[in-house]
Structure formats: C-alpha cells, structure tokens
Symmetry: C2
C-alpha cells in the first residue's frame, strides 16, 4: 500500500483536492498562499499553517515567546504575500499534558505580541490533548484593500522579478543554531539567529505592491527556488535569474564560510526567509526599489525577469552551487540550471 | 512547575486569553461556539476544532469516510448552534508518514461528501508531518442571514429550554462500539453507532431558530449538562431541568440497560450528540415543537425553563443517576442537583 511518505506534499495535495468544487464566492481556493473569498463584496483571505514541535521549532532552542511570534508571523507572511491586511487569527493548540503552563503562556504571549504588532485580533481557537508534541496550528484571515490582491498567478513574460530584503539569512541562522561552536562574530550570529527565530513579515511592502501594480507575488517559506517555481507554474512563465544579483547579507556569507556551506545554496534553497518574491511590468522596474523603500522602508533587489517558456526557474551565471544542488528533496516539479 | 494537565481546559483558555483585546469589527471573540466578525456589514463566523487519532477517533473502529465526515460535521454543528450557514472550510492535516494514502483519501472523501451535503466549500488547508498520530484540524467559516445569530448569551429568566432530537444516543453508540458482544438487537446497535459516527448537524433548525426568535443556543458536544451550563454562564440564568422530560431514544435505553449504565446519565453527560439546546420566550414555547418540525423536519422537546439565580443547572425529579454522577471530570464550574 502506498504511504503518505511515498508521495511529496504537493502531489498529495493535488490528489486530495483534485475534485473539489468551487462556488462563485470563492475567488481562489486551494493553490495560492491563501484562499480568497468574496464576502458580500469584501475580499477576505483565509490561510492556515501548523508549527510542529521538533519539526518547526524546538523548545530547547528557542524562547517560548519567539516560538509563538513565529507561528503567527508565518501566517501573517501569507497575507503579506497577497498584499492584504492580516486581521483575525484562530489559534488551535495541541498540547501534551506534561507541557509546563509557563512555557505555554510564554508562547501565547509571543503570539499576542505579534498579533498586536500587526493589528491582528486573536478571535478564538481550540485546545486538544496530544500526548507526544506541541503543535500550534493557526488560521489567519486577512482583508484586501479595494479588492486588490497579489497572487502567484499574474506574472507576464517580460516582467521584472524582485525580492525584498536578503536571501539565506534564516538558513544561516539555522546553521548557527545547530553549531554553537561556529567561529563567527557575536553580532553576526545574533543577526542570523534573529532572522531564523523572528522573521519579519513584509506586510507594508505587500500592501504597497498590491496598490502599485505588482503582477504576482509569493513569500519565501519553502526556499527561494521552490517558491519562485510555484509562481512560475501559477503564472505560466519561465524565470530567468542572474545568480550574481541575489541579495545575500554579509552575515550569511560569513556563517556559510565558517560552516563550509555555499552561501548561494543557502540563498536558493534554505527557506524561511519570509521575504517577498514579486514581479512588476518592466516599465515600473527601474524606479521600484527607490519607491518601495521610500514608502515602506523595505529594500528590494531586481534579480531577473520572466520569459516565455516552460514554467521553470533558469539560473544564469557561474556558481559552485550549480554543481552541488542540496536541500531540494521536497521539490518535484521541472527545474533547470545552466 | 504547573503542567497543562493540572489545569482544566476552561481555566487554561481563561488564563491564556484573559488579556486579549477586541477591535470593533470583532462582535464576539473567544467564548462562543464561533467567533463573530463584522466583514463590512456581513456577519462572518469562524471556528476551529481538531480531531485527534485515538482521542476523537480510531482508525480500527470507524470507516475513513466516517472519520472525515465527522471531523467536518462537528465544525458545521458550531455554525448550526449559532444559526448560521456553514460556508468555507480550511483543512489542516497532521500526517504520520506511515499513514496509508488510501486511508487518507477515504477520510478526505468523507470530508468532501459532508461539505457538499451542506454547501460548504473546501477552500484550502495545510499538510504537516506528525510522526505519531493523525490529526484533522478544521477551520469553518459561516455566514449569518441578515445579521441574525444565536449565541450562548441571550437567554432570559422565564424562557423555555428545548433540545432537538434525543440525548445520549451517541454515548450509547460508544458503549456499543466498545463492547461488540453487547446483547442488543442489530438495528438498535446500528442506530446508536450511526449517531456516534455520523452525527447530523442541525443546520436547518439553527437557521430557523435564529430567524424565529430563539434567545440563545449551544450544541451538545461536551455533554448536555456541561454545554447547558456554558449557556447559563453566558446568559446569567439558572436552568431548571425536569429530568423525566429529557428525550431519550428507545435504542439508548436498550443499550444502556444491556451495558448496565443509567440511560439518564448517558443523556446528561455522554456528549457528542450534536443536538441543539436552545431557549425561546415562554410565549413562543407552546407551538414551537410543531412549527420547527413543519419547517425543518427536526423534532424538539421542551425540557425546562430559565430562572433567576446563580448560573447553574438544577435537575428536578428522581433518578438513579442523581446519586451517581459520572463522566463529569472535565467540569469545574458550579453545578447542583436536587
């Protein structure tokens, strides 16, 4: 018998959801960062994401507050990627009976702080017992301004591709966390740990981009290449990425070097950066970085463009990592590098 | 250190959610069957509930389709209890890698069937790995007609208390499931098993009651007494229940007798009936059963009334069970019987 482990996440989702029907008030269902509903004229987004102990977080490695913050932040990031306001959260807790109440209160406190920071109201939830692990399963509802949302689909051949912030820093943080003896400056380590444990959802940038003509967007959760490929598949475009243009922080390079890892590989595949990949028409590209920074304080870098062709990511340029792809096991779709 | 197991579910929720703030578009947050949101004039309900393997279901006792149906049904029931249309579901799956895909497909198929039966669209979800158990965590969004919803609060002293259907049949089904050798007629066993494995959310009744002046409602999930007590606490009324008026199906009595269990105890405490407890002004009580049955085909029985006094449930009448309360461990609030 076929087991769940034999199928990838995406083929499993495809199999389960193949025959779902979609009523007219569901503008987008399965397959975007969030579903989009038409609630009597208002555009409501709905998404959920679970953080599982020892898969997504470890109680011995992160402060309870940081675990709570991040559980909320990854859902807020889904709203950011669609250019919407995160507004309402439902918190479903699966709790081992032996969990210390003080730890749980710390986690909940972190969720509440993150919620307040983004004007999200915690409106309810559920508590159930789960013997083995703590799971934080969060549903986030968001609202779009004037029915404008960003989706994975919408990018056109010729559009420029940008990414906010830098890539790979969260992955570098994971390396630093896994090896406390890594010989790097203290503030470098701290910066990377912060990126890993306290991701900053790009809500202001997403809202600004939705209002200023971006054609498609996605957040970097699974990894830059995997997520960009989702965008390519949804939009039916090929992405041409210039490898030397990828924004990689000095801290990422320092930690990668100390750990013997290719920083470009971290940038391409490590994931959890929660930056936004987005596309804009080429005529808007030249001044976009300045405008976005002025309006929201968020940096963005043009890293390539969309072309006609099979929906895949083409990496242009020389890199050590081009010959040593790692961390890609979760990907099944077409992918090429040259 | 205090552990989660040292606190009851309700005191844990109270502790975690004590300092949550509520923006103006949150009409009701934590503390009802669902949160109520004002989405630009539309009344949207949001609720979530997790079904955990070996706590809420067992793969060796229920068909996969039934497990899926019920996971959706318990969330639909929360919308029913508030007199709203269940509309959109997010399905969060926590999956052991060894789970057979065929089992998962059966469960998802059951969810899809139940969704279609109630015009609910499955709009998205999440898949995460959980080594030890299968968990189905479902978020349900509902919409109220013309801003009318039923809540736990709203019952007034003097209101009549009703319950739909019968009480204890799901509990009898659990007894039948636990002891396959129980000497009861085959159709009796089947009826009880069906009640336990395929609860029927009272959506039509809830909608009708919301439109016809019911003052408060809650569904029977934890157990009749526990849930009625929630209604009393939210409404600030005392409930006076006439024990001989409780609707108990013949099948429930037959199975209870065979298992050596008091059927009244099943009715009061076993839970999972997913019937609606509701209150109506006394002037509406006399004809309500007929009207509700004509409009929705749902039976309802008047079982008592609301009085001024401490928010608790007073059971009137003689019963064996009055001296042998069982199954109440999850309750902490004030409770009296005489």
């Amino acid at each position: 018998m076929t087991q769940v482990a034999d199928l990838g996440e995406f083929s499993l989702i495809a199999r389960l959801t193949a025959s779902l029907s979609t009523p007219p008030d569901v503008i987008a269902g399965v397959g975007d960062d969030a579903a989009i509903l038409d609630i009597q004229g208002a555009m409501l987004l709905a998404t959920c994401d679970a953080q599982v102990q020892d898969t997504h977080f470890r109680l011995d490695r992160s402060a309870p507050q940081d675990i709570g913050r991040k559980a909320l932040a990854v859902n807020i990031s889904d709203c950011a990627a669609m250019g919407a306001h995160p507004r309402f959260a439902l918190i479903s807790l699966l709790l081992p009976p032996t969990l210390e109440v003080a730890t749980l209160e710390g986690i909940y406190d972190g969720m509440r702080q993150e919620a307040e920071r983004f004007d999200v109201a915690i409106i309810g939830g559920n508590i159930a017992r789960l013997a083995e692990r703590l799971v934080l399963d969060i549903t986030m509802l968001g609202l779009a301004d004037e029915r404008r949302v960003l989706r994975r689909q919408g990018a056109q051949p010729g559009d420029a591709i940008f990414v906010t912030g830098t890539l790979g820093l969260a992955g570098a943080g994971l390396l630093a966390q896994e090896d406390p003896t890594l010989s790097v400056p203290r503030d470098t380590r701290q910066r990377a740990l912060q990126a890993q444990q306290r991701p900053e959802p790009r809500v202001a940038a997403g809202l600004w981009l939705a209002a200023h003509g971006a054609t498609a967007a996605i957040d970097v959760s699974d990894g830059f290449l995997a997520d960009l490929e989702h965008l390519c598949e949804a939009s039916g475009v090929q992405a041409e990425i210039a490898i030397e243009s990828l924004p990689i922080a000095h801290a990422t390079r320092t930690i990668a070097q100390a750990a013997g890892v290719d920083p470009v590989e971290l940038a391409l595949s490590a994931g959890e950066d929660y930056e936004l990949i987005f596309t804009v028409p080429i005529h808007a590209a030249s001044d976009l970085t300045r405008q976005l920074a002025e309006a929201t304080g968020t940096t963005a870098t043009q890293i390539g463009f969309c072309a006609e062709g099979a929906p895949q990511v083409m990496i242009r340029g020389n890199t050590r990592s081009a010959n040593t792809p790692t961390g890609w096991d979760h990907m099944r779709g077409p992918m090429a590098r040259n």
